[in-house]
């Protein structure tokens, strides 16, 4: 029963590619304009123009700028398996533990946000709008599943829900922390990530523990949104 609920691309070989070639070409061109124009309709228009389309062609994206955020989330999740290379951290005898692999995966995925980091709070704001929450939460769950899978944990036990939720909490809070981190090469973010992962290890994956992460995340998140004057829910 549990195993049938489990999501993974490896177990459910990829359905249709998530974006058409036209969508991909416009959205990937648009992402290059995010650092200077943010997650905005201007950025979408610039992407469309770059590849020969018109301003009006951005109607191809029914959710507007959120489709651009979603494109980044989906493509970086799918790219994770190609980018991460555990052998860098292993020698002939010593293999990485599952928690160590999780740490590598989180850091790798977070690094993919670094080119957009000065604008990533805008993305978080869009993800928090009522209509976009289901898609954002589901994408976070898929990322968490992908990371557990790549770390070699494909256990089908009851813990699976807990593990997914715990890792989602760790990832989301670190991602948020990173948007406020000004230290060189995000040193503070990696320390923050280590502390969160240590907490999970030492406390075990108890439910109270998860809710404390979610609390932290919700709290920090609402502060960010307030500062951006985005209405929170």
């Amino acid at each position: 029963m549990i195993s049938t609920l489990r999501y993974h691309s490896y177990q459910h070989p990829s359905p249709a590619p998530p974006f058409t070639p036209t969508e991909s070409s416009i959205l990937s061109a648009a992402l290059r304009h995010v650092p200077s124009h943010g997650f905005s309709t201007t950025t979408l228009s610039l992407g469309a123009r770059d590849v020969g389309y018109l301003d009006i062609s951005t109607n191809l994206f029914p959710r507007g700028v959120f489709d651009l955020v979603n494109y980044h989330l989906v493509t970086e999740r799918l790219r994770l398996s190609q980018k991460v290379d555990f052998s860098k951290f292993e020698d002939g005898t010593k293999r990485l533990s599952t928690p160590a692999k999780i740490r590598v995966l989180c850091a790798e995925r977070l690094r993919a946000n670094s080119p957009l980091i000065n604008r990533w709070q805008e993305a978080l704001g869009l993800m928090s709008l009522a209509g976009n929450i289901p898609a954002s939460v589901s994408e976070l769950a898929k990322l968490s599943d992908e990371m557990w899978f790549l770390a070699g944990d494909d256990s089908h036990d009851m813990n699976w829900y807990t593990k997914r939720a715990t890792l989602s909490g760790v990832y989301a809070s670190t991602e948020l922390f990173m948007t406020q981190d000004t230290s060189p090469d995000f040193e503070e973010t990696w320390k923050f990530l280590d502390r969160r992962l240590d907490d999970v290890k030492s406390l075990g994956s108890s439910v109270s523990n998860i809710s404390s992460y979610l609390d932290f995340t919700a709290h920090a998140f609402s502060n960010v949104l307030r500062s951006k004057s985005v209405p929170f829910f």
């Binding site: 058409t20 201007t42 009006i56 951005t58 191809l60």
Partner: protein
């Protein structure tokens, strides 16, 4: 509602006598009861539907024109009554979602509103371009098969001061051909509550594809199929009995509104129409359509690919 009806009746009272002059029998035509009254052998000509009646294709355009001539001046009032004013919200959403107008570093847009009738969509487009995008250069051509509808629109454009700006023009055009509109000349093609009246819908889609620039957008707002089923039953009840009755009360013309209701029922499903749009050479947007108010109306969008001829 009662208050509103009473007020609307008073508003259109002067037009009533003019409408009364249209012979009711001319509006509906049954091929079975009058087989060859025109005296011409037409057995080979394709038949099309006119509401629930089946008529020869060559006759439908004329019939549709009659219906809309007979409703032109009371049309806007009737629209309000029929949809309880919701059509305004749908149209606002339609235009806002398209976001017409010049973007920074871009060019003004050329918009073509087909079956534009009294200009409802055209005016909204210009207002949006101006207020949201600070653009007073984007232009709209309001095209309709029926000169009476366009005359109402022109009157409104006059009153509201659009005419002097040269941003709007009115043209008699059949959606199936769009003869005076050059190839690859339009950024945005809209058709609102119009496609269902067109005799050969695939031809209209082809014409839309022809006039749009590569990258241009086709957007259609139209009544559609309600789901879930219990709601549909209620809606059918409402539309088949109440709308013609209101047509009678408000516009003094039950038959024309009977036609409107039946043509809604005959229109393809949301999914089927999305496939027709794709077959005409457009890329569907998302799953192809967006339902409004449980599917009472829907919006379909398609983008013309760069590599199409």
């Amino acid at each position: 509602m009662a208050f509103r009806l009473a007020r609307n009746r008073a508003l259109i009272a002067p037009a009533k006598s003019a409408l009364g002059a249209i012979p009711r029998t001319a509006l509906f035509y049954s091929t079975s009861s009058k087989p060859a009254s025109s005296g011409q052998p037409q057995a080979s000509e394709a038949e099309t539907h006119f509401g629930f009646q089946t008529v020869k294709e060559s006759l439908k355009a004329g019939k549709v024109a009659e219906v809309f001539s007979s409703v032109a001046s009371s049309y806007d009032v009737m629209n309000d009554a029929m949809s309880f004013g919701i059509h305004r919200l749908w149209k606002d959403h339609f235009v806002r979602s398209l976001n017409p107008g010049r973007k920074s570093g871009g060019s003004p847009m050329a918009i073509l509103d087909v079956a534009g009738g009294t200009g409802d969509i055209a005016f909204r487009m210009l207002d949006h371009a101006d207020k949201i995008n600070g653009d007073r250069e984007t232009t709209v051509i309001c095209a309709d098969i029926n000169a009476d509808m366009l005359k109402e629109g022109e009157k409104r454009a006059q009153q509201q001061g659009y005419i002097s700006t040269n941003r709007i023009s009115f043209r008699v055009e059949n959606a199936e051909t769009l003869d005076s509109i050059p190839d690859n000349s339009v950024d945005l093609y809209t058709i609102s509550f119009g496609i269902r009246n067109v005799t050969r819908i695939p031809m209209a889609l082809k014409a839309a594809h022809r006039v749009l620039k590569p990258g241009g957008v086709f957007a259609c707002l139209e009544f559609s199929k309600v789901s879930p089923a219990p709601l549909d039953a209620i809606y059918q009840q409402y539309s088949f009995s109440i709308i013609p009755l209101m047509g009678q009360l408000i516009a003094g013309d039950r038959d024309s509104y009977q036609y409107l209701v039946e043509s809604i029922k005959k229109f393809p499903t949301q999914q089927e129409f999305a496939v027709m749009i794709k077959e005409a050479g457009f890329m569907n947007v998302g799953k192809g359509y967006e339902e409004l108010t449980f599917g009472v109306a829907s919006i379909w969008k398609g983008v013309k690919p760069l590599d199409s001829k």
